[in-house]
Amino acid sequence: MDVSTPAKQLGVAILEDDTALVSKLTHAIDSAPQLHVVASFNDVHSCANWLEASAPEIFLVDLQLPDGSGVEIIRKAAEKNVACIVLTAFADERSVVSALQAGATGYLLKDSDDPQIVESIILVANGESPINPKIANFVLKYFAPPPPDTSVEYEVAHLSAREKDVLTLIAQGRSYSEVGNRLQLSINTVRSHIRRIYQKLDVNSSGEAVYRATRQQLISG
């Protein structure tokens, strides 16, 4: 995978209550010349206070914290154009999509080794949004048109035909290059589509939020 080295060193903040994992992440990040850890927190409250005045380039966020959910931090950080990466043990749609809706850009498996950690962070810094078949399948259902007997009184975002093609192939287990070959697109175009899809996960109105919440409940069963 092509990993372009950023022009300057990127500041990375960490929100994670597992101290062993924080040590591992700090070690991996500080080992990379392009990255350094600017702050680490083990609770939402102190992290939120810090975020009022500061903003790293990248934020690694765990969702399950003792005093709240990391989704709140992701939302605040996204407002400041901070690229948030959600830390997850399973990369399943339940833990990832809510973070993506709040504005996260990607996810990182907690048991990744050091090179994988650095690679994932740099890819996100370069604008890539990682995705897996389950997340793709979930997003397809999430954006499925409402049933004929449902009256939708507000504007809801939809996927374009191309975006649906990309998600369908990823849900079938295709890699980015295979998707690009099938649809005659470059890998970067495929990544752009995925990034745009993630942006559409953010809701624009309260009405749409209700509708989306209902859809999510239906999909999650």
Partner: protein
């Protein structure tokens, strides 16, 4: 005692009916009443010569049978005296005649009731009224002659005759006309209306045959009543009279016997059917008789027989009332008693015992009978409807109750099934976790507690535990028909590991593949089979490529093939724990597993049937 009381009661009813029938008829006063007249017989084409002094005198009303007289024409003549000057505005009123009459005053015809030749007009119930033209009467003595024409039965009749001022005569004529013709016709219309109404009920309540027989009997009587007021008959005299006779008999039988039996819920019998055929046969045999025997049999045998047949119904009703003193049955029996009494009166008229001029009364009582019976039937029909509606409502309530019970039972069963399925799934997940993650964690703990802990081995074991947990989560999340999604997730899990080992993954999976439906348990077993192979390849082979492919080798199977390009000579071919696990998982899937060591590498091939049921 009770029976005696019942007989006495109905005896009183009969008495009242007879008394009513014997009430004298209304006749005009202050007019000239002709009580007797001389007679002269003439044949149709002969000239009548009248010798008043020598003529035989007859008292009026005159029934020809009393004098054993047969013939078709008889002329009555008399004189009457008027005042001076001669009166004007006078009329002649003849209450009853059989069949028709022509009236002359002083040799001049002032009127007749219609055709006096073959198919004589039948004015038997129709009073005759003729106004005397002015200046025809003389002051003093005037001649009156009345030529009476009978029918084929050669039985004639002339009632008393009245002459007088129109203003005195006419009201009586109109009253007689009203009661004897207009009311008769109205009753006939009412009968047909009742027949139509009950006929419609008969169509709805086919199971209750009394409605049908009532309709039939009423209709027959309705047609019979035409013989009373149709004066100009459309067919031959014999045919018309035959129809009148047989309709009485059919009415008596179908109304008095069959209808009453069905009304009292007595089932039909072979005897009824035999009697019906017999009656039909006798009806046609009657017509075959030559005139005058035809009329003799009809009047003196047929009519009494009808009376007897009709009396059966009355006796049946009487027995029913004696057993069950329902008010409804009493009312029916009273009306039936009146009917039979009137029928007996009419029979006496037919025999000549009662003056023919009194006319037949059965039609009047028929209105009462049919009205009463019709009302009872309609009430019975309404009661049936109400009963049906009540039963329907009850049934609906019961059905609703039962439906609710079934729903509750179904819900209960569904809940129990749900709990059972959830419990089974819990058990499966616990078993899987025990076998998978649990086993790995215990191994890790054991390794850590060893005297010389192998940290790399511990790390590997814990990593395997995490992989197994992820496989378990993936297997739980996908639907029955998402095998591609399941395998896609598997690819996303293993590809980073393979990449880190510089092993290329070639993914030969088409979206058009037909795949079996796998439940969570089967999905996990499949993933573990594939994971085991990948783990072996990574740990024990020198492969740099792994190829994964799916194909439908036959219409009802799916073949999953995973192979590496490692040197098979360096692989342990013994059936280690991993291979044993793979075999066990494959059998859990119901698939056929082959594990080959080929020159090109190690090949694992799993064939699954497409139509197996999922385990959820």
């Amino acid at each position: 005692m009770k029976l005696a009381k019942l007989l006495a009661t109905y005896g009183v009813v009969i008495g009242i009916a007879i008394a009513a029938l014997l009430i004298p008829l209304d006749t005009p006063n202050h007019v000239i009443r002709i009580d007797s007249a001389g007679i002269a017989q003439s044949t149709p084409n002969s000239q009548l010569s009248i010798d008043i002094s020598a003529a035989q005198q007859r008292q009026l009303p005159d029934d020809w049978r009393r004098h054993q007289q047969r013939g078709t024409t008889l002329t009555y003549f008399t004189t009457f005296v008027t005042t001076n000057p001669a009166p004007v505005n006078w009329a002649v009123f003849i209450p009853s005649v059989r069949y028709n009459a022509r009236v002359k005053i002083n040799g001049q015809t002032i009127g007749d009731g219609g055709r006096m030749s073959a198919r004589v007009v039948r004015n038997m119930r129709h009073p005759l009224y003729f106004e005397i033209p002015p200046r025809l009467l003389h002051a003093g003595e005037n001649n009156l002659s009345i030529e009476v024409k009978s029918g084929l039965d050669e039985i004639g009749y002339l009632s008393k005759v009245y002459l007088g001022v129109i203003s005195e005569i006419r009201p009586y004529y109109e009253r007689h006309l009203f009661y004897r013709v207009t009311v008769f016709k109205a009753i006939t219309v009412a009968l047909f209306s009742m027949a139509i109404l009950v006929g419609m009920l008969a169509l709805i309540r086919r199971v209750d045959r009394e409605y049908f027989w009532f309709t039939l009997a009423t209709t027959i009587w309705g047609f019979h009543s035409f013989s009373y007021f149709v004066v100009d008959i459309p067919v031959s005299e014999k045919l018309w009279d035959w129809l009148a006779f047989v309709t009485i008999a059919w009415f008596s039988y179908f109304g008095g016997v069959i209808f009453i039996r069905r009304f009292l819920k007595i089932d039909s019998s072979q005897r009824e059917r035999t009697t019906t055929w017999l009656l039909m046969a006798c009806s046609f045999a009657l017509y075959a008789l030559p005139v005058p025997r035809f009329y003799d049999v009809a009047y003196y045998a047929w009519h009494p027989l009808c009376q007897v047949i009709g009396s059966y119904g009355l006796i049946r009703m009487f027995v029913a009332v004696a057993r069950n003193r329902r008010f409804e049955l009493h009312i029916l029996l009273v009306s039936g008693t009146i009917l039979i009494t009137c029928a007996a009166h009419d029979l006496a008229v037919v025999f000549g015992i009662i003056d023919w001029g009194r006319g037949y009364t059965m039609h009047y009582s028929m209105a009462l009978v049919l009205f009463v019976f019709g009302t009872v039937l309609i009430r019975r029909f309404s009661a049936n409807l109400v009963e049906v509606e009540t039963m329907r409502d009850e049934l609906e309530i019961r059905v609703e109750k039962r439906r609710q019970e079934l729903e509750r039972t179904y819900e209960k069963l569904r809940e129990e099934e749900k709990h059972r399925v959830i419990a089974e799934e819990h058990e499966r997940i616990v078993r899987d976790m025990h076998d998978g993650v649990g086993g790995h964690l215990v191994s890790s703990l054991t390794l850590l507690r060893a005297d010389e802990a192998n940290i790399e081995l511990v790390e590997e074991t814990l990593q395997n535990a995490l992989v197994d947990l992820r496989l378990t989560v993936d297997s739980l999340d996908h639907g029955d028909d998402d095998l591609l999604l399941l395998l896609g997730m598997f690819r996303s899990r293993i590809e980073p590991t393979l990449n880190s080992r510089h092993i290329t993954l070639r993914w030969n999976v088409s979206a058009d593949i037909a795949a079996p439906k796998l439940g969570p348990g089967e999905s996990l077993s499949l993933l573990r089979v594939l994971q085991e192979f990948i783990t072996n390849t990574v740990k024990h082979s020198n492969a740099n490529a792994v190829t994964f492919s799916l194909e439908n080798a036959s219409a009802d199977t799916l073949t999953i093939t995973i192979q590496d390009n490692g040197d098979p000579l360096h692989r342990d071919r013994s059936k280690g724990r991993g291979m044993i696990n793979i075999q066990r998982r494959a059998s859990e899937l119901g698939g056929e597993l082959t594990h080959e060591f080929t020159p090109g590498g190690v090949v694992l091939r799993l064939v699954l049937g497409l139509h197996a049921q999922p385990d959820n």
